[in-house]
Amino acid sequence: MASVGIIDYGMGNLHSLGKALERVAGGTRVVISYDPETLLKCDRLVLPGVGGVRECMRELQRLELNQLVIEAARKKPMLGICLGMQVMLEWSDENGGVPALGLFPGKVTRFPDPPETGALDRLKVPHMGWNRVRQTRQHPIWDGVPDDAWFYFVHSYHAEPACADHVLGTSDYTKTFACALARDNLVAFQFHPEKSQNTGMTLLANFVQWDP
């Protein structure tokens, strides 16, 4: 039986992601695990995550999952979500600067902070809520998802990929930023498909069926 493994390294709410994947998985089994051997047996992997990047990288290393992610990224379909996407870049400015997994060239940087006091309509950080995602190139993950669809975001840092070819979608908040990345068998979203109602479910269903 085909399986999708959610990498559980103790950062955040895997409940909703697990339930969302189960809903769209069809015949695919959903496995939530921190055990490298269990995860290696899965046909595809999801790297989720909320929280700070330093703690995230520390936990991945402590559980010996960072090598697993790097190896699996060469051969299995893999999806990064939110912080799980950010650690796929080479470096994050968060927590004073932390080297990350380097699956996508480029770095993660903070949105410009608004003035602490001032106009009511200044853009605040975190970027929190529903925003539109512009699809900058075609990809099977977008099947059935309209261009400029709404997705739920919550983050203060965003990816700056070095390679424009890796950008799959962008969104606007203080500037245009890359919110979806893809290369080979990797795809990554800054927003939360598991929190983005039916449109998010479509993305997750596409990932479960994706055959890169």
Binding site: G12, D113, T117, P126, M128, G129, Y152, K195, Q197
Partner: protein, 256 residues
């Protein structure tokens, strides 16, 4: 660009949705899963659950409710009420909450906000501020923070407290006017604007919505990033969809 959010609030008491006036006179308003599903179908952008009893005995009931809702609803869910420790935060996140709201315990121990934000990420830490206007007429407006469901004065100035909480690591503020809550006379927009212009994180307006113009004023005059309402939705006065259409027609950026 980012849309403004419409957030129905479900006050939860021992596994049921309830609605009170000025934090008192509590009435039954339905089953949380049914109510949450209805709002999701109507296009709610998020849901907030506030456990208004929050007695230790009832915690397992709350976790079951959160789990049951999170299993069926794929929009963000914030849960508050009686959150006192990182263990509480973790338990709620594990049950399926996306954010937790901290109120009384932030006043008792401001460093708890920092600790929870460091461990679980500031994006999932909402600090709820219940504020009451304490200035006299003709004085410049001033609001004081109250805790314990609006019953206990703290001596803290609400605007200064909001700034402190953001410094301590709050990712979002949920600001309720105790004077307005349940009165259907509109948000205290002066309070909202005073806080929104003083902090750099998103602000959820709460307390006092009676019609759709109140939602608009909370966004336009109060400068809120999201508007929370309970009774107008529970009583069926308006659907979330009607609220969103009203706001969109007035030029507010809304996810329709």
């Amino acid at each position: 660009m980012l849309a403004k959010r419409i957030i129905p609030c479900l006050d939860i008491d021992r596994g049921r949705v309830v609605k009170g006036v000025k934090f008192e006179d509590v009435q039954d308003a339905g089953d949380p899963v049914e109510v949450a599903r209805k709002y999701d179908a109507q296009g709610a952008d998020e849901l907030v659950f506030l456990d208004i009893t929050a007695s230790v005995d009832d915690r397992p009931t709350l976790f079951q409710t959160v789990e049951a809702v999170a299993r069926q609803i794929y929009i963000p869910l914030t849960v508050g009420g009686g959150v006192r420790s990182c263990a509480d935060v973790r338990a709620l996140l594990s049950a399926g909450a996306d954010k937790v709201s901290i109120n009384t315990s932030a006043v008792e121990n401001p460093d708890f906000v920092t600790e929870a934000g460091d461990r679980y990420g500031v994006q999932c830490i909402v600090v709820a501020i219940d504020a009451k206007r304490v200035s006299k007429k003709k004085e410049p407006p001033r609001w004081e923070v109250f805790t314990h469901g609006g019953r206990r004065a703290t001596g803290l100035d609400a605007v200064e407290w909001a700034k402190t909480m953001v410094r301590k690591g709050a990712g979002e503020l949920l600001v309720t006017s105790i004077d307005r809550d349940g009165t259907k006379s509109g948000y205290d927009n002066e309070l909202l604007a005073a806080i929104s212009s003083a902090v750099s994180v998103p602000l959820i307006a709460s307390g006092g919505v009676g019609d759709l113009e109140h939602l608009y004023q909370g966004l336009a005059t109060g400068g809120a990033d999201a508007v929370l309402a309970a009774s107008i939705f529970h009583q069926g006065t308006y659907t979330v969809g009607e609220a969103k259409k009203y706001l969109a027609d007035k030029g507010v950026r809304i996810r329709l």
